[in-house]
C-alpha cells in the first residue's frame, strides 16, 4: 500500500512533463528522470504512448506537396554517393526512372512531345554528365545531361541575382548552336528540363541568355 502511495506521488510529479516528453522538447536531467519513471510505471507509459500519438498526428496533418522537379534524381545520386553498401546499389534504372519522370512532368506541363526512336521506354544504361553553371566566376547552379535517346538536360539555378525568362542554348562539339527552350528563373531555386536535339555526348557547353541577348550563365560540359 505504501508502495502505491509513493508511486502515485512520483507520478504526480512526472505527469506534468509527459506532454513535453512526447513532443521531444524535454531535455537534460529532467528527460532522464521521466524516462526512468516511465520504464517502471505502466500508467505513465500508456499516457506517454497516447501523447506521442498526438505528436505523430500533428505531423501527419501537414499537407503533402510536390517536391521540386528532379527531386528523385538528386536523391538517387545522393544515395549512390552514400557510403552505406545498400545505397551504392541504387540502380541506374532508378536514376533513369527518376530522370524520365522529371522530363515526363515537364512534357505534360508544357506540352513538349519527346520524340523517341526506340519502340519502348524501357530503361537502358544512360550516362549522366553534370557541369557547374557559372556566372561571373561564381557557381549559380548546374546542368545535368542524360545520354539516353532522346537525350535531355536538366538545368537548376539557385540564388541568382537575375530573373525572368531566359533562353537556354547548347553548343555542340561541331560548333552548331541550338536553343532548347525558354524558362523562367527567379532568385529562389529553379529547376527546368528539356530534350536535347542530339545525343548528350555531342554537347560541349550550355548557356543561359536573357531577352536582350546578354549571356547570364554558362556551363562547360566538355573541355
Amino acid at each position: 500500500m505504501s508502495g502505491d502511495i509513493e508511486r502515485s506521488a512520483a507520478c504526480g510529479d512526472i505527469v506534468d512533463d509527459l506532454a513535453e516528453m512526447a513532443l521531444g522538447t524535454l531535455s537534460g536531467q529532467r528527460r532522464s528522470e521521466v524516462l526512468d519513471h516511465v520504464a517502471g510505471c505502466a500508467s505513465c507509459r500508456a499516457e506517454l504512448d497516447q501523447l506521442s500519438k498526438v505528436t505523430e498526428a500533428l505531423q501527419l496533418l501537414a499537407p503533402p506537396m510536390q517536391p521540386p522537379l528532379g527531386f528523385e534524381m538528386r536523391l538517387a545520386e545522393r544515395l549512390r554517393a552514400s557510403s552505406a553498401p545498400q545505397h551504392q546499389r541504387v540502380s541506374r534504372a532508378w536514376m533513369f526512372a527518376a530522370a524520365a519522370s522529371a522530363v515526363l512532368v515537364l512534357a505534360l506541363g508544357v506540352t513538349v512531345a519527346l520524340i523517341g526512336r526506340g519502340s519502348s521506354g524501357a530503361a537502358t544504361a544512360s550516362g549522366l554528365t553534370s557541369a557547374d553553371l557559372t556566372s561571373g566566376g561564381k557557381v549559380v547552379g548546374s546542368v545535368l545531361l542524360s545520354g539516353e535517346q532522346p537525350g535531355w538536360m536538366l538545368v537548376s539555378t539557385d540564388g541568382v541575382t537575375w530573373g525572368g525568362p531566359v533562353r537556354c542554348e547548347v553548343t555542340l562539339v561541331g560548333g552548331e548552336v541550338h536553343t532548347i527552350g525558354t524558362f523562367s528563373v527567379s532568385g529562389e531555386y529553379s529547376v527546368w528540363a528539356a530534350p536535347l536535339p542530339e545525343h548528350a555526348g555531342t554537347v560541349q557547353s550550355a548557356r543561359l541568355i536573357d531577352s536582350s541577348g546578354t549571356v547570364l550563365a554558362t556551363a562547360q560540359v566538355r573541355a
Binding site: 513535453e20 524535454l26 497516447q50 498526438v54 500533428l58 505531423q59 544515395l79 545505397h87 529562389e188 531555386y189
Partner: protein, 195 residues
C-alpha cells in the same frame, strides 16, 4: 512517339509500407523507388511547413530518405507506423535545420495553422479508417489560441517550454500548462478511436 515511361505509381502498388522497408533493407531498388514515390510528397510537405523554404525543405527531405534507407532494417512496426516513423525523422531534421539557422518562428498561427487546417485526408487514409487525423484537426481548431500556439511551437518547431515562455513573455509554468492542457485535449480526440 511520346516517350513511354513505365512509371509505376506508388499509390497503384499495393505492397505494404513495411514490405517496402524490408525490401530497402535488402537493397531492392524497386522497393526503394516505390517507397520514395509513396512518401516524397508527404515528407516534403512536412519539411516545407517547418522550414518554410523549398530548397531547404528538399535538403531536409533528401536527408530524411537517406536516414530512412540506412535504418530500414531496424524499423519496428510495433513501435510506430511507417508514416509516423518517417514523419518524425523528417520533423526532427527540419527542427535541427531551424536551430542551426536560429530561424525559429514565434507565431505559427498564420501559415502553419492554416496549412494544417487545409489538410484533406488522402484516399488511402480515409480507406484505412484513419479518421483520427480529422478529429485531431478539429480539436486543434477548437483549442484556445494560446494553447494551440504553444502546442504547435513545440510539435512543429521543437521549441521547449522555456523557449516558449521567453518568446511569449509568460511564466514558465504558464507555458508548460498551455502545452499540457492543449495536448490533453488533442489526446482526447484520439482516444475516441483507440478505446
Amino acid at each position: 512517339m511520346i516517350v513511354r515511361y513505365s512509371a509505376t505509381s506508388a499509390h497503384e502498388d499495393d505492397t505494404s509500407d513495411e514490405a517496402l522497408l524490408a525490401g530497402i533493407a535488402l537493397a531492392d531498388d524497386r522497393a526503394g523507388l516505390l517507397f520514395v514515390r509513396r512518401y516524397q510528397h508527404r515528407l516534403f510537405g512536412l519539411a516545407y511547413r517547418i522550414v518554410g523554404d523549398p530548397r531547404l525543405a528538399e535538403e531536409v527531405t533528401q536527408e530524411a530518405f537517406i536516414r530512412i534507407f540506412r535504418h530500414a532494417e531496424v524499423f519496428d512496426p510495433r513501435r510506430a507506423s511507417v508514416a509516423a516513423w518517417t514523419s518524425t525523422i523528417t520533423r526532427n531534421l527540419a527542427i535541427d535545420v531551424l536551430r542551426v539557422r536560429r530561424d525559429i518562428p514565434t507565431d505559427p498561427e498564420d501559415h502553419l495553422f492554416l496549412a494544417l487546417m487545409s489538410r484533406d485526408l488522402a484516399p488511402d487514409e480515409v480507406a484505412s479508417g484513419n479518421e483520427a487525423l480529422g478529429r485531431v484537426r478539429i480539436a486543434l481548431a477548437e483549442l484556445p489560441t494560446d494553447q494551440r500556439r504553444a502546442v504547435l511551437l513545440a510539435a512543429m518547431y521543437g521549441r521547449s517550454a522555456e523557449e516558449i515562455a521567453r518568446a511569449e513573455d509568460i511564466p514558465l509554468g504558464t507555458a508548460k500548462g498551455r502545452i499540457r492542457l492543449g495536448m490533453a485535449k488533442l489526446r482526447g480526440a484520439l482516444e475516441v478511436e483507440t478505446r
